[in-house]
Symmetry: C2
Subunit: 450 residues, 2 copies
């Protein structure tokens, strides 16, 4: 079957192919061309990209091909085609932030993550669609599994492109649920690192619980791309950056997991509940202990601590978004969505003292959650309340993924569940700065469930 | 004497004038026009501004005048003419970062601090000269006290403009010594807040020990401008923001000060040493206890902790500057100074593990310094090794002010000393998040020495 005939998405991992590159049986340029065939087939249906730079992508892939042939690749991801969420700056393409206020805007530089990925030999194919300023207002991207459905957001384009098999990895960001939710809806692997773990320089998301994340065709690729970024540019200034090995952490079957229902359980679809219950049954059968709020006091305390995570996170984000929304509003309020204007009104009713109180409350909740670390390998829950909802007017419910954002912890979504024949993610939540341990655990769970 | 005849700088405070505004005897527009007369006289000699927007400044002053007349000023600084360091974004003027790479660059928005100041009624007169990317390469600004001398840097233009009496307050930033050193050299008040205390959104200084600061014609104005910023936009995301009252903290005579020689004492000029010794004698005479490394073990430990502050800070900054310098270098390395290219070479020899080690070391040093907080109201030392040096090729020695940057603590420079008939700052260093207490202490010291 020619890729252009594809009607079902097929994840297109890059990393296993590199053995072929070294042997000369395949090359980054050939890999890219296969991606571009998929792009041609899928892009009209899903609208994942806002800008493409194919001449530069091809030239970059050719340079990578030459390096692999010479036996001198710059990194394991040398030649990997990548999509960059359009709130992250690129020197060769505009950064439009999903906003008409930034139509055609050029920052004249690469973001830290993009510069690092280019140094590692990454092939930047294009800028992927984001909701308005990575917040709520969708920009028309469709889900490759069903174009009548949302791909999720705010990293809509990266998830749709990876989910359709157009690219192996797309950069996203997450402050509420913007990496794991679209990964869940589009059948991709999603990784939101510990807050501060990857340098956000040049990304228009300075919020205190936001993190650059990966939407990927495989778990190892999510790790490797993150690693290549931190190796070259560190974490956010003042943060230690992602801890972990130069190659993907080896899968390790967890001993004990904590099930978190979160505020989401009440909203979960019957299919999603059954999918999670079935997965938990298989894990239990494999000898993994699963504890819950009903039999463990620390888990009950953690459930209480993450209750209302969405509301607290929205409030924190509102204050932290007062700027720059106020300057955008002053420039041309008619070019802001109603959701964005409403957020500004909310922010302008807040005081810095209100904000301090919220930071203190967030920190208190983080400490309660951290008490689970000595006993559990990770927490487990859904990544979404069900399959992607029908309609493009909303990017769906983030209730299951916002706790990890509020807590600043690493989280991974594995595309191993289904709801009504559509993808649904299984979420594993780790502990701050222990991203590598979470990858090992996720790999162990994946081996049992895939 | 007409201001245009001025040959000696005269600080031009704004705040005491507001009584005249309310009474209709003076107005923000008239105040601005007096500033513009000074600008016309001084600017050809000092080159403090890189961009001016006088039509907008006049319109803004007129709106302020109307508000004062109606009895509805937006804040105590409504109508205050301000200069904005040219690494801080302004919607109506380019942000050129002291670099030919950013010639004419427009970010299409106001920085958080600028948006807040406009909301408070501040009148933005223009963008003040910065060294290249707020680092070391000077851009020709001259010292109003002696045009053959540097005004200091990197906030060169803000200090020169305030020192000449052109504007009452200019925004600066400091990651090594970029606010207090030029304040010292130009005879201004300088305030570098606790790290994170003022929102740096839209300022091209994301370094972990950098802070937005004030160079001011008076101590109360430095406080008030900082307060009006934090009230409206908070601190950096995730930080509690500047703590303190809505009006300048009342001066309070300190009980006990810790003298810190720092690495700078060995480099201080005879005149600077004598100026400090004389000031200390007057403070002692007034009943303030001054302890030193020679009679207090905690001070000796703090001296050891700040030894090498410059080297550690340069190394931390180098890693944190790897991006964006690498992307600027990729764009056109010929437009970077040799100092900037050298910094990139240094950064590229570092690893994220090196950086983690430096962060740990910095934190250790901060804890040692913090041990002084229970016993001392503040630490006291020089703000510079002497008067501004002759020549425009260097912005002078930051050795006395870099410890406060490394420690992340608030620091104030008072223009109460002299060296060879030229200004020299007396520095007070406080404790993290206790900026208001430092202001009270500085006010008490000022009352004794001015």
């Amino acid at each position: 079957m020619n890729a252009s005939d594809a009607t079902r998405p097929v994840l297109r991992p890059y990393l296993p192919a590199t053995a072929g590159f070294a042997a000369g049986k395949d090359s980054p340029r050939e890999f890219l061309e296969r991606c571009l065939v998929a792009l041609e087939a899928w892009e009209p249906r899903i609208g994942a990209f806002v800008t493409l730079n194919l001449p530069e992508a091809r030239a970059s892939a050719d340079r990578s091909t030459a390096r692999w042939r010479a036996g001198n690749p710059l990194s394991p991801i040398d030649g990997m085609p990548l999509g960059i969420k359009d709130i992250i700056e690129t020197i060769d393409m505009p950064t439009q932030n999903g906003s008409p206020l930034f139509a055609g805007f050029r920052s004249e530089r690469d973001a830290a993550s993009v510069a690092a990925l280019r140094e590692a030999g990454g092939v930047i194919v294009g800028k992927t669609v984001t909701t308005e300023f990575a917040a709520t207002e969708p920009r028309g991207t469709r889900n490759p599994w069903d174009p009548s459905r949302t791909p999720g957001g705010s990293s809509s384009g990266s998830a749709a492109a990876v989910g359709a098999g157009v690219i192996p990895v797309g950069l996203g960001t997450q402050v509420i649920g913007s990496t794991l939710r679209p990964a869940s809806f589009c059948g991709c692997y999603g990784f939101k690192p510990t807050v501060g773990a990857l340098n956000r320089g040049g990304s228009y998301d300075g919020l205190s619980q936001s993190a650059t994340g990966m939407i990927a065709a495989s778990l190892p690729e999510a790790w490797q791309v993150a690693y290549e970024i931190v190796k070259r540019t560190g974490g956010d200034p003042g943060f230690p950056g992602l801890y972990g090995p130069a190659t993907p952490p080896a899968p390790a079957r967890p001993r004990q997991l904590a099930l978190l229902e979160t505020d989401g359980w009440a909203d979960a679809s019957p299919g999603a509940r059954k999918a999670l219950d079935d997965a938990l049954a298989r894990l239990t059968q494999a000898g993994i202990a699963i504890a819950t709020r009903y039999d463990h006091a620390d888990i009950a305390a953690a459930e209480t601590a993450i209750h209302g995570a969405r509301e607290l996170s929205f409030d924190i984000n509102a204050w932290e978004s007062r700027w720059p929304i106020n300057t955008y509003s002053a420039r041309d309020a008619s070019k802001l969505s109603k959701a964005m204007r409403d957020r500004l009104v909310q922010a302008e009713a807040m005081t810095v003292e209100d904000y301090r109180g919220m930071l203190t409350e967030r920190q208190r909740r983080r400490c309660v959650y951290d008490a689970l670390a000595p006993e559990f390998d990770a927490c487990i829950t859904l990544a979404a309340t069900g399959a992607a909802p029908v309609g493009l007017h909303s990017t769906g419910n983030p209730v299951f993924v916002v706790p990890a954002s509020m807590l600043g912890i690493p989280a991974i979504s594995l595309p191993v569940l289904a709801d009504g024949g559509l993808p649904l993610g299984l979420q594993l939540m780790g502990f701050a700065d222990r991203d590598a341990a979470l990858f090992s655990c996720a790999g162990g769970v994946l081996a049992l469930l895939k």
